[in-house]
């Protein structure tokens, strides 16, 4: 089946009321095709995380329509059509690693044996086999985030929402997890929506980069990144990769030109 997993039409999100109201998002039209890896990038305050939360029905739009998997975002949440990963792993420290991964499955009618099996499979997918019985506090930050990814995938959802998932990790761990995430994406065929503030990360991972501007949050460009798949460490040295990075950077600058130009000048001095 081809088609859009996420379809947003004229979506608007206003916080507050009266004189204090802020337009977090305005006139958002976005389609995310099945199997795509889409990054949302923009300056802080551009509403990229809000956009992700709207897709996940964790907050409600003040205007427009949002469809996920051909139904309302609300229905899709109730049907557990997506998994979500935040910047912090949000693991439950009273549960072992495998019991953390099983948590979402406990909300459904899946029996204990099947749950344990699924948890093992997901932990194997994120290369954490052997850590099933450990507690989260015994793991490194990168490993904890992998557990969070395994947990988000435990329902085998059609859509994976990630809100700056590697933002708190060091550069090396981050690059390794980028590669692993691409491997998971290929293996599972899950559609991924990925919020980041790192241009190289967005270009490296995505088939499509959605560039946003702030106040009000708007989509200013959608860059199709047709770098060859599967991507690997060599991709980061590809000339076309740099070209895409430059292009996204310029688009971001266009969205907030005065500020970015000032920053560039400061950096050049």
């Amino acid at each position: 089946m081809t088609g859009a997993v996420v379809r947003m039409r004229a979506v608007q999100k206003v916080f507050g009321g009266g004189a204090d109201q802020t337009h977090a998002l305005d006139a958002i039209d976005l389609e995310i095709p099945k199997g795509a890896f889409v990054s949302l990038i923009g300056p802080s305050g551009c509403g990229k995380s809000t956009l992700l939360r709207l897709i996940g029905d964790l907050t409600q739009a003040t205007g427009g329509t949002i469809e996920v998997n051909g139904k309302s975002a609300h229905r899709a949440r109730l049907d557990r059509d997506y998994g979500i990963v935040f910047q912090s792993p949000v693991l439950f420290d009273w549960r072992t690693v495998e019991r953390n991964v099983e948590l979402p499955l406990e909300m459904s009618a899946i029996d204990r044996r099947a749950r344990a099996e699924r948890a093992r499979a997901m932990l194997a997918l994120v290369e954490l086999s052997g850590s099933e019985k450990r507690y989260p506090w015994q793991l490194s930050g990168g490993m904890q985030q992998r557990v969070a990814i395994a947990r988000a995938l435990s329902f085998e959802p059609a859509l994976l929402l990630m809100d700056e998932p590697f933002g708190a990790l060091d550069e090396m761990t981050r690059e390794r997890l980028n590669l692993e995430l691409l491997g998971i994406w290929r293996k599972t065929g899950t559609t991924i929506v990925f919020v980041t503030h790192s241009i190289p990360e967005a270009v490296f991972l995505s088939t499509r980069v959605v560039v946003m501007s702030a106040r009000p949050g708007r989509i200013i460009d959608v860059v199709e990144v047709d770098l060859p798949q599967p991507r690997n460490d060599l991709t980061r040295e590809d000339e076309r990769y740099f070209a895409f990075v430059t292009r996204v950077r310029e688009r971001l600058r266009g969205g907030d030109s005065a500020q970015v130009a000032a920053k560039t000048r400061a950096a050049a001095m």
Binding site: R77, R80, D93, L103
Partner: protein, 289 residues
Amino acid sequence: MRVSSIYTFAVLRAARGPLSFLVLASALALVWEVVKLLGGEQTDAWTPPFRWKIASDLNMPHVWDIAAAFAEPAQRNGPPLGLVLVDAAIFTFREAFGGFVIGAVLGLALAIVFVHSGILERALVPYVVASQTVPIIAIAPVVVIWLQAGWLSVAVISAYLTFFPVTIAGLRGLRSPDPRALELMRSYAASPRDVLVKVRMPAAAPYLFAALKVAATASVVGAIIGELPSGIRDGLGGAILNFNQYYISGPPKLWAAIIVAAVVGIGFFAIVRVAEAIFLAGRLGRVET
């Protein structure tokens, strides 16, 4: 670390408490006797350099006299005091345990209600706080009149002291999960019951245990005080009242009763502490560092 070793570790950690308690109790006894040595009463072998009224044998009986009192009969031809006090302690502990359970259940129930309803929280929490400003001595007779003198009324009086810390700590603990954790549960389309059982309650557990330790000792105090207006003579409250009235004829008896009351409170505290160590064992890395 293997899971079983985590438990062994937890139990060892818990055993450290009683040990240091014994050391402290011995030190206290030593200080007690040193004070008597300096300002106590004259004997054939020793004349103290000072004379302090508080250090007299009436006010501060010798540690060994208190110890000996346990073996002597409480009344003429009766069983030894130690046995009487153990019976009384068991009696009072039962009341205290009842008060502890009633208070814990009620306290937690209130916390769960408040965490789900902002209106009820705002409406009722001031009364919950105000309830603790009314002295238990004033409440106790009323409870006895309502429920009639007996085991249950003492437990209810005791619960009056125990529910409060559980409500306050429980409320705090139930609110302690990361907002992201609650969003995560929302993304799983989790029911309010699942959120409570799988996220809020486990997150509240360390807070609840802290409150239950307070409640354990408070329940013993509540039970002892509750016995007084109930006219119950079989417990430690009755014993303390009795030995207080006849203090002149045997000071060590009151001290023995005080020691037993303290031991009951400390013992109850220790039981909760061990339960906590076992229950929170997996989390030691986070909780105990």
